[in-house]
């Protein structure tokens, strides 16, 4: 067989491209099936890490990723994760969002059974770097101010930044971002208070 003459034949082209495509797709199939479990595990670990980040250490001993309930909030389903210790419900975790200076700010918060915040983290935002991004724990520990606060403590009218006569600090040059986060957390607490029955109802696994 002479490769040089064969290469220019019309039939050679589909054969070659077909074989290459076959080999490539087979290789992909193999790798994909080999990596699928590892990828799923890694992604689950991500979620768990971010959730446990807002929970005080040792509070939960269950796999709260599996113990979830979807609650309707203003027409949208909010997934609430439930943390238990010894089967006893200790805290719930859910995401809230509020419009900030530029775009939505996503906040993950953990609330204990008494409606007290256990932890707040900003998951995602597009605020002005250098000004509004102090809501990230990486940049500033401002979000830790929320720990232990509940709807009645401070009083509802004090759930605001200092500029609006509240108790929370604002940042120099940026009031809108902290204002939005405060509003989001307050809203989350109100949501919890209103739907406590639904949230705690239903047994976990």
């Amino acid at each position: 067989m002479n490769l040089d003459t064969l290469r220019d034949k019309l039939g050679y082209q589909p054969l070659l491209l077909g074989v290459v495509a076959l080999l490539a797709s087979a290789a992909l199939a193999v790798v994909s099936s080999a990596t699928a479990p590892a990828i799923a595990a890694a992604e689950a670990k991500d979620l768990r890490d971010s959730l446990s980040d807002v929970l005080p250490a040792g509070l939960a001993d269950n796999d709260f990723l599996k113990d979830t309930v979807d609650i309707d909030r203003d027409g949208k389903a909010v997934t609430v994760y439930r943390a238990r210790r010894g089967g006893e419900l200790q805290a719930v975790l859910f995401k809230v969002a509020e419009r900030g200076y530029s775009g939505e700010i996503q906040v993950l918060m953990a609330v204990d059974m008494d409606g007290r915040t256990l932890g707040v983290r900003v998951l995602k935002h597009t605020e002005t770097p250098g000004l509004g991004d102090k809501v990230e724990l990486r940049k500033d520990d401002w979000v830790l101010d929320f720990n232990g606060k509940s709807l009645g403590d401070p009083a509802p009218e004090k759930w605001a930044v200092k500029k609006d006569n509240g108790v929370f600090d604002q940042f120099a040059g940026a009031t809108i971002t902290p204002r939005a986060v405060v509003k989001a957390v307050k809203g989350g607490l109100a949501f919890y208070a209103a739907r406590k029955q639904d949230i705690t109802a239903g047994s976990g696994s």
Binding site: R99, Y101, T128, G130, L131, G173, T175
Partner: protein, 361 residues
């Protein structure tokens, strides 16, 4: 040049000159800026003066350095044409009056080296160097670049003395909270974002802005003085009316329409015209020779574009002020405008074909 060498080389006509020169033009623009600048010194005290002086010094220094690195033979002559001074001056006018020293130095570097010399020096830059520096500083250092102080005559605090001013300028003394304030545009944006109606948020109209009694950049304050400077440039024919009018109309027309429809959401045209860098932008930035179109029609379109974009950015964008961004965006459009706004050649139609010869002639 001595006469002998002049006769030695072959030159074409004309053998006369109107007498206009780059340095004369630059000098006139500086003269037009002087009243607003001096008033700015009075409003904001020594720190503003330090800022102004250092920004200009930094621009001239970086210009000299760049020319030396580029191996330009006539450094002194090129420095004396006044363009670097003017760039520094304009940049200083748009900075917060009590900005620290490093803002001035870094601004000079960005304006001259990155905004101008990298493109090949005077006449070659695509973007207005002062605006490049302004935007780069604002994006990079949002905190010091949005720290506005109230004009001293208005604030409760005593005017800082020379040494105190120097310490503020060098950054060793923090700017007291009592003198900081939001600009009108910034205030409006903040209030809108928390859902407060503009009618409730703005107690006083923008009237005081005519004489600069508001927080804002050092040189943008007194709209009336800027306007006078602009009129002086118009009368001495350093600039033509097209670009300034375009900018003012480009802001005022959409502002008037939107304000008429929803006064609670949109600022009035008067507030737009008198706030921020609009007056300065209209008369001193949008008329920059190098980065604006060559033809008067093109300048009108350019101005309208700057105005419209400014209004859009102020009303819908993330930043409260948009003149600098609008100018840069339109700078990028300048070659396109120039391409489509060529003057009609005498004896030709717009497409360059010779006009028809009338049959009855």
């Amino acid at each position: 040049m001595n006469p002998v060498s002049l006769t030695a080389q072959t030159v074409a006509s004309p053998h006369a000159h109107g007498g206009n020169s780059v340095s004369r033009t630059m000098f006139r623009v500086q003269l037009a800026l002087a009243p607003a600048t001096l008033y700015g010194f009075w409003l904001y005290g020594w720190p503003a003066f330090f800022l102004w002086a250092l920004t200009i010094l930094s621009c001239v220094g970086f210009e000299a350095l760049s020319l030396k690195l580029a191996g330009v033979p006539r450094i002194k002559g090129t420095l004396l044409d006044g363009s670097a001074v003017l760039t520094g001056w304009l940049l200083a006018m748009t900075l917060p009056p009590w900005a620290p020293w490093w803002v001035a130095v870094l601004g000079g570097f960005i304006a001259i080296v990155i905004g101008k010399q990298v493109f090949g020096g005077l006449g070659q830059n695509v973007f207005n160097p002062a605006m490049v520096a302004r935007v780069a500083l604002l994006v990079s250092f949002p905190l010091p670049l949005t720290l506005w102080v109230l004009p001293l005559p208005m604030s409760a605090l005593a005017t800082p003395d020379f040494v105190g001013s120097l310490r503020i300028f060098l950054g060793s003394l923090p700017v007291p909270d009592a003198v900081t304030s939001a600009t009108l545009l910034g205030h409006a944006k903040t209030e809108l974002s928390r859902g407060v109606d503009l009618a409730a948020a703005l107690h006083a109209g923008p009237g005081l802005s005519w004489i600069g009694m508001r927080a804002g950049s050092f040189g943008e304050s007194a709209a009336i003085l800027i306007l006078c400077g602009g009129l002086y440039l118009l009368i001495t024919r350093v600039i033509s009316w097209h670009a300034p009018l375009g900018v003012l109309a480009g802001v005022a027309i959409p502002a008037a329409i939107a304000h008429g429809v929803d006064p609670g959401r949109f600022l009035s045209p008067e507030a737009h015209l008198l706030s921020g860098a609009l007056m300065l932008g209209a008369f001193f930035i949008a008329t920059d020779y190098v980065t604006s179109p060559n033809t008067t029609t093109g300048q009108l379109i350019f101005g309208l574009g700057v105005g419209l974009l400014t209004w859009v950015i102020r009303s819908f964008g993330a930043y409260p002020e948009g003149v600098a961004f609008a100018v840069l965006l339109m700078n990028a459009m300048t070659p396109v405008i120039d391409r489509f706004c060529k003057p009609r050649i005498l004896g030709r139609d717009r497409k360059g074909k010779p006009i028809d010869i009338p049959e009855n002639a």
